[in-house]
Each structure stands twice: as structure tokens, then as C-alpha cells.
Symmetry: C2
Subunit: 195 residues, 2 copies
């Protein structure tokens, strides 16, 4: 069992509706040593892949993305969830369904931040159905850039996101993959990727 | 002129309506070396202040808060802007007006993440009118915790936030304080805090 799986067993709480609360260490409250270790682990798996930029989506992907960007020595870009008056000019746009909020978000990235020369590593804290990642993939494609791969802290292997991303031909690396979890017993089982 | 002031002169863009775009290095895209240096600078100013936790508010405060938390060796908590189904149980709540979005947000922090034993350093990327910070102060007070101080990357010295926070008796440290900026000429002038 690796360091993140151990931490999930220690502090993660399974709730009904396939919800895994990790708000004391991964989102809401951040254990920076853990976040940095996840960043270093993901960076080491994509070392040599020629990554020029890390791309994530606000909010909870940002700390992990920062740790990966630091470890790879590349800038981090986070897609924003709605058009603020602080973003003018040309933007890439994608529609993303939110699992936890039950609504559609428009995500945007300023065009000046991605170019056709970029090799982009997509990073997020949790992979469930993969909708957020699909939005990010679509933005990278709009920019004519290349997806170097996908780095995830916690993949819910019993949801379709991981399968979908791997089936599209992208290299997906998750530090922890949950194969089963049970809200009644609190039991969490880890495993290898579903091919 | 310090490293952040130099970077703002180089890459910041003044827009009408007191907007300073720093989206190529401080928010939207993150220069991790710069972010880390800001974090180390703020951490060094509050070294010895007994900080047990860094508190910020989503979204753009998170990278700086992570860098400060890492440098001080304490956990980071970010207040969330709306109630998601992933937060149950007891929460602290404050109302915050958003300058850039022109609407009121409810910000929340899970009660289990702040206790009366905490000395909390409030961190944000930009200080303008100080509404977000006032919301965070109110949450720290609700928790019976102590505000150890306020650390800011870029303070707009010509808006009332800095004055307001210092007048409340809190120690406020900003890495760069903008005294004047002009959308027509693009000129930006830095200075010391307004007392």
C-alpha cells in the first residue's frame, strides 16, 4: 500500500452516493507534505514526457497541480469556471457537467496561455466520471496543443472516468485507485487500473 | 524594488476600473518559482508568530496560501464559496461581497478544521476592499481562534482594504503595495503602507 492509500484509509470517510470525503487532507484542508509528495510522485511518472505546462480546473485540482508544476519546473494553468470581468479577449471554452453540484459549468482558458507548441499534462485531485478532464482535453485540442498525459491523485476505479480516458488513448497515472468502497462498513479497497 | 514589484511592472497590465491583470503569473497561469518566493517572503515575516494554520478563500488565494503553509510547515484551509453536497455537518459561514463579480457569496469552513487553539494566518493574492478578508476574520472569530496576521501578495494601496484591516489592529504584511496605477499610461507606482 502506498502513502496516499494509507492516508485515505486513515482519514478518508465513505459517504452514501459514492462520496469519499478527504476534506481534512486533500481538499478544503490541505496537508502540504502529502500534497507535495503526490506532486513529486506524479511528476516522476511523467519525467521525460516533455511536459511544458500543467493544466487543471478550479478549485480542488489547484494544490496538486501546483505541486506537480513545481516538481516538473513548468507553469501551471487553471481553467476557470465562469467568465469573470477580469478575463477579456480571446478564450477557449468547454462545457463541463459537475457531478457533485449537479449543474453545467462553462470552463475557460485564456488563449494566450496555451499554444500549439505546448505539451500539456492534465492534473486533478479526483477522477470519477471524467467530465472535467474531457473539458480540459477539448481545450487543449482547441489550442492545437498535445495532451502529454493525465495525472490524478485519487481515481474512483468503479466509475467510468478512468476507463474512458485510457480508451481515448491517453496515458493516465493515478497515485491511488479505489476499486470498491462501502458507505455502510466504511471499507475501501484499492487496486490496479481497469483496462 | 522587490522581486514581485519588478514582475508586476514587467507582466502586469492595468485595465480601466482599477483592474490589474496578473493572469500570466499570479492567477490563471502560475509561475511556481514566483509563487514559492512570495510564500517564503510572507512566511519569513510571520516566523515566530506561532501560526498553526493558514486560511484563505477559493480560488485565487490558494496557490499563495499553499506556498506559505509549506514554508511555515502548517496545514492550509481554504474557505469554499458555496455549500456543496460534499460538506455536511457543522460549518462556519460568512457573507462576502465580490468586487469582480458584483454579487454576494456565502463562504464556509468546516467546523472540524478550526478550533479555539488555532493561531490563523489569513492569506490572499490580492487585497482591494478587504471584503473577503473580513469574511475570513469573522469565521476565525466564530471558531474562537486567534488571527495571527494577514499576508498578501499584492495590496491595492489606493483602495480601503489595507487601511481597514490595519485599523482593526491586525498585522498586515503585503509583498507589493500599489499606490497608483493608470489605465491610460499603464504606469504603476509602488509604496509603503497607508497608515
Amino acid at each position: 500500500m502506498n502513502f496516499l492509500e494509507e492516508r485515505i484509509l486513515k482519514d478518508g470517510v465513505v459517504k452514501p452516493g459514492n462520496v469519499l470525503k478527504m476534506d481534512t487532507f486533500l481538499n478544503h484542508q490541505l496537508d502540504m507534505q502529502l500534497i507535495d509528495r503526490i506532486g513529486q510522485e506524479l511528476a516522476s511518472r511523467f519525467q521525460g514526457a516533455g511536459v511544458t505546462k500543467v493544466l487543471t480546473i478550479e478549485v480542488s485540482g489547484i494544490p496538486i497541480a501546483c505541486a506537480v508544476g513545481r516538481a516538473l519546473g513548468v507553469p501551471v494553468v487553471y481553467a476557470k469556471k465562469s467568465r469573470s470581468i477580469n478575463i477579456d479577449g480571446k478564450i477557449y471554452v468547454a462545457e463541463v457537467e459537475s457531478y457533485t453540484q449537479g449543474l453545467k459549468n462553462r470552463i475557460i482558458v485564456s488563449k494566450k496561455l496555451l499554444s500549439s507548441r505546448d505539451k500539456v499534462l492534465l492534473v486533478d485531485d479526483i477522477l470519477a466520471n471524467g467530465y472535467a478532464l474531457q473539458g480540459l482535453v477539448s481545450i487543449v485540442e482547441d489550442a492545437g496543443a498535445e495532451v502529454a498525459g493525465v495525472g490524478i491523485a485519487v481515481e474512483k476505479g468503479f466509475q467510468e472516468g478512468g476507463w474512458r480516458i485510457r480508451n481515448l488513448g491517453y496515458r493516465l497515472e493515478s497515485v491511488a485507485i479505489i476499486q470498491e468502497m462501502d458507505a455502510k462498513t466504511g471499507k475501501i479497497t484499492f487496486g490496479a487500473p481497469n483496462e
